[in-house]
């Protein structure tokens, strides 16, 4: 029996065309609440477009159904802050402005001096943590991260994913993240969605270590059909 209350997200027959080019075709999948979904695929596979559709930023065909009372926190892949004189405090106060220090602490940025620093002078790791704090400010129950460790050195990557994992467990947040890192998929996600315009694989994220699955994901495109 299909209990719809269990699902954070249900996507059915989703297709996206931009400037007469098919970007996504017939995407269907369901995601249970409180799980972490890793979205993988080669460049230009439509991963970021999928996220934009989930956020209702792009026109599309098909259905995207979020759980009731969904509150989505989003961290995009690219932001431009190098040329804007804006402090961390000001950036975080764009949300509801409450408990800014507590939110920074939840992403393990306890240094009080960070609040008055300009976003443009933060290290890659600090900036990503600030962005995650931003995404958490409106108490979301779903988080969307488009390559959450872009611009972060390897040593800082793992702690960020560990932190996301802790948040998921503690706050029962559903997480969708785009990543290229097989290790991250295996260690920090529950489900795996491989895209290449269509879905090439959907299933347990541990399958990413299976060479035949890797061949499917990164080799020649063979659509897996509907997953819903």
């Amino acid at each position: 029996m299909d209990n719809s209350n269990e699902y954070a997200l249900r996507v059915s027959n989703l297709s996206v065309k931009l400037q007469n080019q098919t970007i996504l075709e017939n995407i269907s999948f369901k995601l249970e609440k409180g799980t972490a979904l890793a979205v993988v695929g080669p460049n230009a596979a439509g991963k970021t477009v999928l996220f934009k559709v989930l956020l209702n930023l792009l026109p599309h065909e098909g259905k995207v159904e979020w759980q009731q009372k969904v509150r989505i926190g989003y961290v995009p892949q690219n932001i431009s802050v190098s040329d804007i004189p804006i402090s961390v405090r000001e950036f975080l106060s764009f949300g509801n402005g409450l408990n800014i220090a507590a939110h920074l602490s939840s992403v393990k940025l306890d240094d009080k001096n960070v609040l008055d620093k300009s976003l443009g002078v933060l290290s890659g790791g600090q900036l990503r943590r600030v962005l995650i704090a931003w995404a958490l400010i409106d108490n979301p129950n779903v988080l969307l991260f488009d390559e959450p460790t872009t611009g972060v050195d390897l040593d800082s990557e793992e702690p960020i994913y560990r932190m996301l994992n802790e948040l998921k467990k503690k706050e029962k947040i559903t997480i969708l993240l785009i990543t290229h890192d097989i290790h991250i998929v295996r260690e920090y996600s529950d489900r795996l969605l491989a895209l290449n315009k269509c879905i090439t694989f959907f299933g347990d994220s541990k399958e990413i270590m299976n060479p035949s699955i890797q061949k499917i994901i990164y080799g020649e495109t063979v659509c897996a059909g509907t997953q819903a």
């Binding site: 934009k52 930023l57 932001i79 040329d83 804007i84 402090s87 000001e90 300009s118």
Partner: protein, 260 residues
């Protein structure tokens, strides 16, 4: 003598209010990397000024009508074609400048290009001050939204911000303040008022509050000192406002260089 003093006081009042407002609005234009848009857009006012001179209606209205129309065209073409604002404005401003120079009577051309604040009336002053205050208050309500849109348009839209509509409102407010600023510095130099004070403020700011406040203060100081010195030296106000602002800009460059 009393008449001259009264005119000077009115000119200084306009200068301070328009300087504050232009500096504040300009702070967003510099962040948006639209500095040249502000400059080029101001030239679009020239044909409007020319029509005002030829048909004897308030020059402000002529300038604003052309600036307003240009802002809407820039916004719409930008939305449809995804071309940068700079490319679109660049394509239209030289055309507007050429048309304006051809139809502005030669005797009025210098005043239109470089401004003349010695002819202000009480009504001009009241209109300029009211417009400056309204433009600034409205900009304050959309300031954070515009900055968030610059950081990431997707992030802004995902927070429910209507980025395109907010940009249009901002361009219209810039048109208003540029139309008023033409009185002080003329159509050729009014771009200065929205660019240089903000560029100077950016040199010495690490947060938005300080940046926007300093932009407004530098705008006011440039306009005030330029207009005041023009009355003592009996020279046109426009070039002197620009020189005052450039001195402030140079000082901030030095200050930044010293802290490096």
């Amino acid at each position: 003598m009393i008449f001259l003093l009264e005119t000077l006081i009115l000119s200084l009042l306009i200068a301070v209010f328009v300087g504050i407002s232009a500096g504040y609005l300009g702070s967003l234009m510099v962040l948006e990397k639209m500095a040249l848009v502000g400059d080029a857009l101001s030239h679009v006012a020239l044909p409007g000024l020319a029509l005002g001179i030829l048909f004897n209606f308030p020059l402000f209205l002529g300038a604003f009508a052309f600036l307003f129309a240009a802002a809407v065209v820039v916004w719409y073409v930008g939305r449809v074609t995804k071309l940068s604002y700079e490319s679109i404005v660049g394509a239209m401003f030289t055309f507007a400048l050429a048309i304006g120079i051809l139809i502005v009577p030669q005797t009025e051309l210098l005043e239109a290009l470089f401004g003349d604040i010695t002819k202000v009336t009480l009504l001009d002053t009241i209109i300029a001050i009211v417009i400056a205050i309204i433009a600034m208050l409205l900009t304050k309500t959309i300031y954070k939204k515009l900055v968030l849109g610059m950081i990431s348009e997707d992030l802004a839209i995902s927070k429910g911000i209507k980025v395109a509509r907010t940009n249009l409102l901002y361009l219209l407010l810039v048109s208003l303040i540029v139309a008023v600023g033409i009185k002080i510095v003329g159509t050729l130099l009014v771009g200065f008022l929205v660019i240089v004070p903000a560029a100077a403020a950016k040199n010495v700011s690490s947060d938005l509050l300080r940046y926007s406040v300093l932009s407004a203060i530098f705008g006011a100081i440039s306009s005030f000192s330029g207009v005041l010195s023009s009355s003592y030296l009996n020279l046109q106000s426009g070039p002197l406002v620009v020189i005052s602002g450039i001195i402030i800009f140079a000082a901030t460059v030095l200050a930044k260089w010293k802290t490096k």
